[in-house]
């Protein structure tokens, strides 16, 4: 960009080039010059209200003022509500003031921000002058002159580093930078951990968690489970009766204990896979609660149709046929827990699950 030097002393006339430093230049002329230097041309420009103080103009000014005042009032209301509105949770019923604390704050802040926004937008749309501007844009590639100049500059910087002439620097830089990149990858390595047999065992593993003694079944509150606790057509969620058995530490262990009707129990026994034979205790049957698809709790038990449903992706398992999937995306049966009742009358797990519970993983078949 070449600078326009004051070429002549004349002013008041549209001189080409325009004298920017002329102390008498009108401000709008300077604005026009600024636009011109950016390649912008004014096609049309007129005030919105050529005659000031008309009814229409006053009405719009009042509207904008209204929004600003509304915003201010709402903001004041917000401050008042924030400090003095009863916010502490009160028990019961819908008719307490505290229940409206969050909605009131939200509404007032919304009105305050919205009021400012609408006011400013209305101002710029309704009061600013009507103008139409055009800015030239070049088509296609950049100017060949610009391209040549830029290319030369970049190549010159490369030459200045002298990297082509100084191979030692090049190798040293490579040695310095490459391990730095590897160092950045290290935190990912921290996420890799050998799970051991954790994926193949649950809290019902007697050797691992109970000193070799068979693990009993318990409810979430720690009480042990007896057969008479579950009525025919009923089900109950049970956990391994070990310390922390019902906590997330053993999140792989929740099991559904179902008391089938006599004919259904017989059907389940007749259908049992080799692996599941003898796993039932009378008409009680226990399946892992963790869906073999992606591990949601498959615990929607239909006691008439003997189906277990998973709520996440609508997989359905047939309880009297080894909990085989009969609908939905799950492809493997829910693992069955072999159960029995000890001499004290409590349920216990004869062994851990025979197959890994839950969704599939790469090494699942290796064991």
């Amino acid at each position: 960009m070449s600078t326009e030097l004051p070429a002549s002393g004349e002013h008041g006339e549209k001189a080409e080039p325009f004298d920017v430093l002329d102390p008498n230049a009108a401000r709008f002329e300077l604005v026009k010059e600024a636009l011109r230097r950016d390649g912008i041309e004014i096609l049309h420009y007129e005030p919105r209200f050529p005659v000031p103080g008309t009814k229409e103009e006053k009405r719009i000014v009042r509207t904008i003022s209204f929004f600003f005042v509304l915003s201010g009032l709402a903001a004041l209301g917000f401050i008042v509500a924030y400090i003095w509105w009863p916010w502490e949770y009160e028990f019961g019923g819908a008719d307490t003031w505290s229940k409206w604390y969050t909605p009131v704050l939200g509404a007032l802040l919304g009105i305050a921000l919205g009021g400012i926004g609408i006011g400013i937008l209305t101002w710029s749309k309704k009061l600013f002058p009507v103008e139409e501007l055009v800015q030239e844009r070049h088509d296609g590639a950049s100017d060949p002159v610009e391209r040549r100049l830029t290319g030369a500059t970049l190549a010159n910087i490369g030459d200045e580093t002298g990297i082509a002439r100084r191979p030692m620097l090049k190798r040293a830089l490579l040695f310095g930078a490459a391990p730095l990149g590897l160092a950045a990858l290290m935190p990912i390595g921290g996420l890799i951990k050998d799970p051991g047999d954790a994926l193949f065992t649950t809290g019902f593993d007697a050797e691992k968690f109970n000193g070799g003694k068979p693990v009993r079944l318990m409810r979430e509150d720690g009480t042990l489970v007896r057969p008479e606790d579950v009525s025919v057509g009923g089900q109950i969620t049970v956990f391994p009766a070990i310390p922390g058995g019902a906590t997330l530490k053993h999140a792989d262990s929740p099991t559904l204990l179902i008391h089938l009707r006599e004919p259904d129990g017989a059907e389940a026994r007749a259908n049992a896979y080799e692996m599941n034979r003898g796993s039932q205790w009378q008409n009680f049957i226990a399946y892992s609660k963790i869906c073999t698809h992606v591990g949601c709790p498959a615990s929607l038990y239909e006691q008439q149709t003997n189906r277990l449903l998973c709520p996440c992706h609508q997989s359905q398992f047939h309880i009297t046929d080894n909990a085989m999937p009969i609908f939905g995306p799950a492809t493997r049966a829910l693992p069955q827990l072999p159960i029995d009742v000890d001499e004290e009358g409590y349920f216990y797990a004869v062994s851990d699950y025979k197959v890994a519970i839950g969704p599939a993983f790469w090494e699942r078949e290796k064991k």
């Binding site: 019923g93 239909e302 006691q303």
Partner: protein
Amino acid sequence: MARFIAALAFVGATYTAFSPGIYADEPTDAALTLDAQKGKELFDQSCISCHGANAQGVDDRGPSLIGVGSAAVEFQVNTGRMPMVRQEAQAERKPPMFTPEEAAFLGAYIQAIGGGPEVPESVDLENLEGADIATGGTLFRVNCSSCHAFSTGGGALSSGKYAPSLYPASSVEIYQAMLSGPQNMPVFADNQLTPDQKRDLIAYIKYIQDDQAQGGWDLGAFGPSTEGLAIFLVGIVALAIATLWIAGKS
């Protein structure tokens, strides 16, 4: 003629003496209380076509009611699920055909002929004051929420069946449903959840239904899908209109 009358009298007297009485082949009647007898009359008019004589069931139409107990009968009748309009995936809640009194008669009859679970007198379901809502909440999340949803609004099951919303259910109806396991609902008998635990559970259900959502309008508390759809439809439309207004030529 005199001989004929004498013969008739003899035959009549013999018949009266030796023939079984008209009601004698239904000896249960004598054992039934007055309520149960009234229930039997209602049963024989309205229920017998599907549940069969003496409530023993009819194949492919209605199950036997022996042993289901009065809780099941009163639940089904008072919520209008029974009598069913037609055989379909699920008996729906509808305006009841019988008054609560008649339902109690039917319950007494079924109780008398087969026994079964009843709502214990000792548990106070009218006044839930003092019930442990926190315990009830834990029990609800463990036992009920998988089908009836965390908000008690219900959800879908397989093949057209569904777990109904708990909003219209009264305290006693919820108790009866847990006790009897209507349709595909599992049974939660009093040995699995004690009457006190059931009362806590009911108190919790009533509490979350009455408690106002802290965030304002909960859109039926169906969860993120409804809320996502609502904010998409309402929010995006509002934003589109706002952008059009800002960009539009005045």
